[in-house]
Amino acid sequence: MYQTIHEAIAVVGVYNHACFTPKKFLWKDRVYQVADITSVTDVRDGEVRERRYSCVAESNLYRLVFNRGEETWLLEEVWCE
């Protein structure tokens, strides 16, 4: 089940063919290396556009949400068994 976190994070990644790929993120003074991205979901409500990256880091799954209008990153949820 996903546990809601909803906290601001910093994300480092690469642009490849106009597509951003997160490589690591900083949350609570700790850096998490992204091992795999399992899904990228675009969400739109009005002009509010968000892109949700589901990232595997240290064997856990994290949902990182990028607000494309405000250019902010949130750690939205984390998977807990």
Partner: protein, 412 residues
């Protein structure tokens, strides 16, 4: 000119809602999943391949599933995930062919004939599609692809094949497919039609060929007799032929909700009705439509009640639609019972451009308010501004359905 017969591909993603969740969350892969609309709900709206293998079906009741399959993992549906994946699939298919048609949330048809110089064979094209889906949606997502002379046969082929397969049906194999598939597998034969055909001893589409005309007409009527005869020959019934025609404007927009438990609270029912009306009004206003027929349906336990009114004028304001739903129709409901399901609908839709606007000052004021709200919703999202009745608490938001009945709105 090529003398080759037409060829269609039907692409169907296996166990869509569940597979996408498994793709996103590796911990769920390989496990039997029952997808419910929300945690606490008891109706299974989708099952993973693993759950289907254990007998779990869409529509199963969770308490029964938990008894028969104790290891079942229950997860809530993620409509945003599904809608995003459908948008990606649509983009992918449109990049491969100008003749692709989205049939439902997870199904598409592609007319192969115009592409036959670009690909060695329909099978080679199908393999490319499968590989592209893998790239776009992920390695866990599999699909069935049916290839045949008509959309009807292509869909029947993919429906009856085992998961993650490509099935090509040659002209010689059509009769075998029609004779071996069950009527319930055939696109267009729903539960009621299936029962009527079973009463005639028909269980496979091919058997329809042998039913006397008079018997078939008596059982299913003239229209369906003609459609079933087409299907029995592997030809396309009307609703599949219409896919290649320009989309017709929507004739009605509705919204329903099934609650968690029976509800007798007038305040809760009023709020819920307003929420449903607000969504319907938002959709018709975005499509620049207005309707004249307002319907309300309520049910609870084994009781149900419905009513409608056909107005002499068109409605396209939330305030007025809510008046007809709540103040007029709902108040006519006399023998009240606790409800679990509420549904509202606005029908006989026409384009704004074809409707004279009212000159009454009160209507003009409502229109000015609605236009301002539209502008705010377009910028900040639905319900960014709404009536006070919805200001606090949970709001029912638009959802995509598997059938994708409101695709004209969704792709605006």
């Amino acid at each position: 000119m090529s003398s080759q017969p037409d060829m269609y591909l039907h692409i169907d993603i296996n166990s869509y809602f569940a597979t996408l969740l498994q793709q996103e969350t590796p911990a769920l892969r390989g496990k039997p999943l029952a997808v419910v609309k929300d945690i606490g709900r008891t109706c299974v709206i989708a099952a993973s391949k693993e759950a289907k293998a254990l007998g779990v079906r869409t529509g199963s009741l969770l308490p029964i599933v938990k008894k028969t399959v104790p290891q079942i993992v229950v997860v809530p549906a993620d409509f945003a995930l599904c809608w995003s994946a459908t948008s990606k699939l649509k983009t992918l298919f449109e990049s491969l062919s100008p003749n692709s048609e989205l049939f439902s949330l997870d199904e598409s048809f592609i007319h192969f004939t115009p592409l036959n110089r670009l690909y060695e064979s329909p099978l080679a094209f199908a393999q490319k599609i499968r590989s592209d889906i893998f790239t776009v949606l992920g390695e866990w997502v599999t699909c069935n692809i049916g290839i045949a002379r008509t959309r009807f046969l292509a869909k029947l082929a993919s429906e009856t094949a085992s998961p993650d397969s490509i099935t090509e049906v040659s002209t010689q194999q059509e009769a075998v497919l029609l004779a071996s598939a069950m009527c319930s597998d055939a696109c267009g034969i729903g539960h009621r039609l299936e029962k009527k055909l079973a009463a005639l001893g028909v269980h496979h589409p091919y058997q329809i060929n042998f039913v006397p005309q008079v018997d078939l007409e008596r059982a299913v009527g003239l229209f369906w007799t003609h459609q079933l005869r087409l299907m029995a020959q592997g030809n396309e019934p009307l609703f599949l032929r219409r896919l290649s025609q320009p989309a017709q404007p929507m004739k009605s927009v509705g919204r329903s909700i099934t609650g968690w438990r029976l509800c007798s609270s007038e305040a809760m029912i009023k709020r819920t009705l307003y929420n449903l009306v607000a969504e319907v009004a938002h959709k018709i206003r975005r499509m620049h439509l207005a309707g004249r027929q307002v319907s309300l349906y309520v049910s609870g336990g084994d009781q149900q009640w419905s009513n409608f009114i056909t107005l002499p004028h068109h409605v396209w304001h939330t305030k007025e639609l809510f008046y007809w739903i709540y103040e007029y129709l709902y108040q006519k409901w006399e023998e009240r019972f606790p409800v679990i399901r509420l549904a509202v609908r606005l029908s006989l839709l026409e384009s704004w451009g074809e409707i004279p606007h009212s000159l009454l000052p009160a209507w003009q004021k409502d229109e000015a308010v609605a236009t301002a709200c539209d502008a705010i919703s377009a910028r900040y999202g639905l319900f960014a501004v709404t009536a006070g009745i919805l200001a606090r608490g949970h709001k029912i938001r638009p959802e995509v359905t598997g059938f994708l009945g409101d695709k004209q709105y969704q792709f605006l």
